[in-house]
């Protein structure tokens, strides 16, 4: 039986690992290699590495960092940040990335999603969407530090699926870094709307809360803060999943 995945998300500022709160305040957490090694010994299901400054600085995520990581990490590696061309993708795949995340450029040029999936197969392309909640179950797409005007969040994720994306990575900006609990209703709604795998992240408060997200139709839960700042480990999450009868490795 297919297992629900627990995926640590590692954010980079080009060089170091960091953690944000609401995509704004930052804390530096040191070298990516050290962080990856820790997760590697914990046999996590997969890793997502995102360079959150790459788009702003008009460059793709550093391929040599990815190369270093891939040499000692024999698990699926999803990589993103500043991806704008087919060559960017090819470069990162050749260095050992398995899946590529596209976010900003997908919004600027949606046809890039199909261009990428036609070249590398949809299983290789993860489209990442940052969502902002403004109360009353209203949701907007968030990009480059602000809400994107005229783009409905739910319309956008349906379009992303239609364009051929293999997976959808959702990051809830409003709860990012808050450890205040995930928006389970939103996870439910998204995973009912699309039929590609959904990785849901943003605001998870602990292993139990992660398990509640996994009870919806999402395929994976993306976790960052509780692994960095609390005692919670991927193993604790696995145990919490098991308790609720969720298939886990």
């Amino acid at each position: 039986m297919l297992k629900k995945r627990i995926i640590p998300i590692i954010l980079l500022d080009g060089f170091s690992v960091l953690k944000t709160i609401n995509f704004k305040q930052r804390r530096n957490l040191g070298s990516p290699i050290t962080v990856v090694r820790t997760y590697n010994t914990r046999n996590v299901d997969e890793l997502i590495l995102l360079d959150i400054d790459a788009s702003k600085q008009n460059r793709p995520i550093d391929k040599f960092t990815i190369q270093d990581i891939a040499q000692e990490c024999f698990m699926p590696l999803t990589v993103g940040g500043g991806i704008r061309t087919i060559d960017d993708i090819r470069d990162l795949l050749s260095k050992g990335a398995d899946k590529i995340t596209i976010n900003t450029h997908a919004i600027e040029k949606p046809s890039f999603i199909s261009e990428a999936t036609n070249t590398f197969g949809s299983q290789c392309i993860v489209v990442s969407v940052d969502v902002m909640e403004d109360g009353d179950e209203k949701y907007s797409v968030f990009s480059k530090g602000k809400v994107v005007d005229g783009l409905s969040f739910f319309d956008w994720i349906v379009k992303v699926e239609k364009m051929g994306a293999g997976e959808l990575l959702i990051n809830n900006v409003s709860r990012d870094g808050s450890m205040s609990g995930a928006n389970i209703g939103l996870a439910k709604k998204i995973s009912a709307l699309v039929s590609i795998p959904v990785i849901y992240a943003g605001g998870i408060s602990g292993p139990k809360n992660a398990a509640l997200v996994a009870m919806t139709n999402v395929s994976a839960v993306g976790i960052s803060s509780i692994f960095h700042f609390t005692d919670a480990t991927p193993k604790d999450c696995r145990l919490a999943f098991k308790k609720l009868g969720i298939p886990v490795r």
Partner: protein
């Protein structure tokens, strides 16, 4: 020498990293004539069946592989689309020809009216009892899959098959003598995956 075929469409980096980690000498080859002198062949593949098939036929790799695998009996391991290519044909991106080593067709995984998430991404159990390439690996261990198409075998005679359960039995591994294929990615399946690759390189 172990030769790894690089069709320049897939995540060749991951396979290379795993082989390097095992400390095995290998040669990455881009031209069919470089198959000369091979003792083992790995055919990795990520991408659409048609893209890989077209590249394979256009490059002359098909004839070279037929000679080494079918005539000289060099063991081959196809991974993911590399495994699918062992079939007669695939339908992804339009019908295109495979190598025809395994009597099978590669079709889209049935989503049973939308109740199944496609692609099949993640860790799933493989029932591998008694299969020699899984020596040292517990039966029903989890391997990493990422695919939307799978191999439908027409005739199981003379084949060893391991299945994974995704809506129904999905072929996870197939063997016909010295010809092996895995739908899962051993290079991404942590310790069990590395053990599987070690078994291929050492045992057969």
């Amino acid at each position: 020498m172990l030769k790894i075929i690089d069709l320049q469409v897939g995540n060749i980096g991951s396979v290379i990293n795993a082989i390097k980690h095992l400390g095995v000498d290998y040669e990455l080859i881009k031209k069919p004539e470089q198959l000369a002198g091979s003792t083992k062949i790995i055919l990795p593949g990520v991408g659409s069946f048609k893209a890989v098939s077209d590249k394979f036929y256009a490059s002359g790799f098909v004839e070279a592989l037929n000679e080494h695998v079918l005539t000289l009996g060099v063991p081959v391991l196809g991974i993911c689309v590399g495994m699918q290519l062992l079939a007669n044909e695939g339908v992804e991106g339009g019908v295109s020809k495979g190598l025809g080593y395994i009597d099978a067709t590669v079709k889209r995984i049935n989503d049973f009216g939308g109740s199944l998430t496609i692609p099949h991404v993640g860790w799933n159990n493989v029932s591998s009892k008694g299969l020699s390439l899984f020596n040292g690996i517990e039966n029903n261990s989890c391997f990493y899959f990422v695919h939307s198409y799978s191999m439908e075998i027409h005739n199981q005679q003379g084949l060893n098959i391991a299945f994974t359960d995704y809506g129904k039995d999905v072929v996870a591994y197939v063997r016909k003598g010295h010809i092996h294929g895995t739908q899962f990615h051993p290079e991404k399946s942590q310790s069990v995956g590395l053990q599987f690759l070690r078994n291929f390189i050492e045992a057969c």
